[in-house]
Symmetry: C2
Subunit: 396 residues, 2 copies
């Protein structure tokens, strides 16, 4: 029986690909430092659990397709604090940032369309875009340039008559790149000039380590018809398991079309939306401790990487990832060796291999993404293991 | 800016279309009997809320893309009770039956493909199928024949070289039709003979009023490579707001392809999955009271409808819907009149209009779907209002 050729062209998650080998290593008694998944270890605020325990409606009924008012209003209050006024109809609750992306892409892209994305990019973008029948036109970036892409000529070289949208993540996954306000404005102006939507994945907005300036593309009124913002409670409040996000746009046609997807899946979970409202209403000082901790982890990770001969990386300004080029030909092969043949005092490491983060065939083969979502002493030890392993691997 | 032409061909939900007019009527002080949405008023079992309150993990982390074992195992135990042995890998938790359908359709259908569905059918099927680039080939059924479709010649007349799958809902929404075991086997055998997948939407499995026989297409081992079952806690346990469902298949290729969607959206909510496990483990006697109540409502609704001259309907065997043909030309116009111009002692009714449940243009215009999810005295009164309204409407 024939299945969808579009689904066939999609890929399984590169972050989860090595799990069976990791499980086998664990079964042999090996301890693994997990640097492969952006799952924060920070405690979820108690307000979330209190909201769960206090849910009192005897019938757990459908939320409206357009979301629960308490949650939508908490999102609106949050944006008001950074100078953005949102109407009720401009905020659509979703099943995490993931569904916000799925529905946005399904609403914008047709067969044969192209979407411009700086590479390396979050690999899950590929699935939604392929299912829409569209393709990614990557803007190449390079570790040596700190994964820089906000340059008019460089972006415009990727725009053609099939281009419908630009998608960018700032702070970035996997690079940790953060656009300056000038760079963000440049990207928005390119979108406007070429009559394109610009999807701004801002789920890491609070995780910028050299600034307290909360930046959103929604703050630029001039580009409001072009901007679609993806947001989520997952990383921000260490509530990945809630699956609560939001898609925001002031473009009325987009919001009316995306509602068709929202109605097709009826609603997002009622209790999780209410509990997420409690998160958005936390005092912003909540982030101070969290940011301090991630900053320490980042610095520990970068110090460890810089002590390894042949490793290339730049200090990321935000999010909780580092992209690094290793002195190996094939990071996939190195990872397999780390799990199947190597250990240092019974310990090894698991990262995400770089290739699936690229759209250009062949790129990223020697790169890896490290998620610094484990504590600083563990990161320090993991970087020591990486150093020892690279020496051994390259002297086999 | 151009948006997706596929999304443009999708429709907004017919069940929610009249909400603004209903809100306006309410604002004028009119009481509305809501017969338009399948939202049960039955209390959600306490086990669900206890599980919410007892969630103890300090970090609300991602569930695996393949779901939480406690929930998957509760589903497996449930099916074991009706004679179906399921492997862990054959059960994939989803965001309600809705996402199970979205991902199944995206996994099976390509541009130009066709899927055979008896009409009238649940309108949300249309959105997922259109987004996949495929079209619905409806099997026509008629109220006079009790919406019967399980006939070899009738089904095969709809199968051609573009057909990839059959989709059926039993017990049915909107008809309340229930396939007999012979009819189910016939449908499965047609799928097998023509090398088609058969998607069996079984979310109303427990709601059959003249039998305690729990039927699932998974019980027919011979057709296991063809069968995909959609299931959900929403209706079964009156837990629509949980958004927890499941897609089940013994076809390994399908399960491996559908996993790409599962990984793309990362996970379904952790707490809701755990709480749903508690629901599946309820004693089956839980359904006795619930079924008795729905049976009373069905009988009340049918008695009311049969007392109205010119109304055609059949007593449905299952689910909680009745499809009825009214002595009007255009149910849409009648509904608008009911909300804008009519009341009986300050009361009126809201149903779902029939046309969007059909794939054949022009069909269903004089039909309506009634959801008997409100209590029996209210249903009795609603049917009285319908009778009075039809008289007035037809003698304007």
């Amino acid at each position: 029986m024939k299945l969808s050729s579009k689904m066939d062209r999609c890929r399984l998650s590169p972050m989860r690909k090595f799990n069976p080998y990791a499980d086998a290593a664990k079964a042999r008694g090996i301890k693994i430092y997990h640097l492969n998944i952006g799952q924060p270890d920070v405690a979820t605020p108690k307000a979330y659990y209190e909201a769960l325990a206090n849910y009192a409606d005897p019938v757990l009924s459908y939320a409206p397709s357009s979301g629960i008012n308490e949650y939508v209003d908490s999102v609106r209050r949050y944006f008001k604090r950074i100078g953005v006024e949102l109407e009720r109809s401009e905020v659509l609750p979703t099943m995490g940032g993931s569904e916000a992306l799925q529905m946005t892409i399904a609403t914008l892209l047709d067969d044969g369309d192209e979407i411009v994305i700086p590479e390396p990019f979050y690999p899950n973008y590929h699935t939604s875009i392929t299912l829409a029948g569209a393709t990614i036109r990557p803007i190449p970036t390079y570790v040596e340039e700190g994964y820089f892409y906000a340059d008019k000529a460089r972006v415009e070289a990727c725009i053609n008559e099939n281009t419908r949208a630009i998608l960018m993540t700032s702070p970035g996954n996997p690079t940790g790149n953060v656009l300056s306000r000038e760079e963000l404005q440049l990207m928005l102006s390119i979108a406007k000039e070429h009559n394109l939507f610009i999807i701004c994945d801002e789920v890491y907005r609070e995780f910028v380590y050299d600034s307290d300036d909360l930046v959103s593309a929604l703050q630029y009124e001039e580009y409001k018809d072009n901007v679609i913002v993806i947001d989520s409670v997952s990383k921000r409040f260490s509530a990945c398991g809630a699956r609560v996000g939001v898609v925001i746009s002031k473009n009325k046609e987009f919001m009316s079309q995306v509602m068709k997807w929202a109605q097709c899946r009826l609603a997002t979970p009622s209790v999780d939306q209410l509990a997420s409202a409690a998160l958005y209403d936390l005092d912003p000082s909540y982030f101070d401790e969290v940011k301090k901790e991630y900053c320490l982890r980042r610095d520990t990770c970068i110090a460890g990487l810089q002590a390894i001969p042949g490793v290339k990386c730049r200090t990321p300004r935000g999010a909780f990832y580092v992209m690094a080029a290793l002195p190996v030909e094939d990071a996939d092969d190195f990872q397999m060796w780390l799990l199947n043949e190597f250990d240092d005092n019974g310990e090894t490491i698991l990262f995400a291999c770089g290739e699936p983060f690229y759209g250009t065939p062949g790129r990223g083969k020697n790169e890896i993404r490290i998620a610094y979502t484990i504590n600083a002493p563990d990161i320090k030890r993991a970087m020591e293991i990486l150093k020892i392993a690279l020496e051994k691997y390259n002297n086999r």
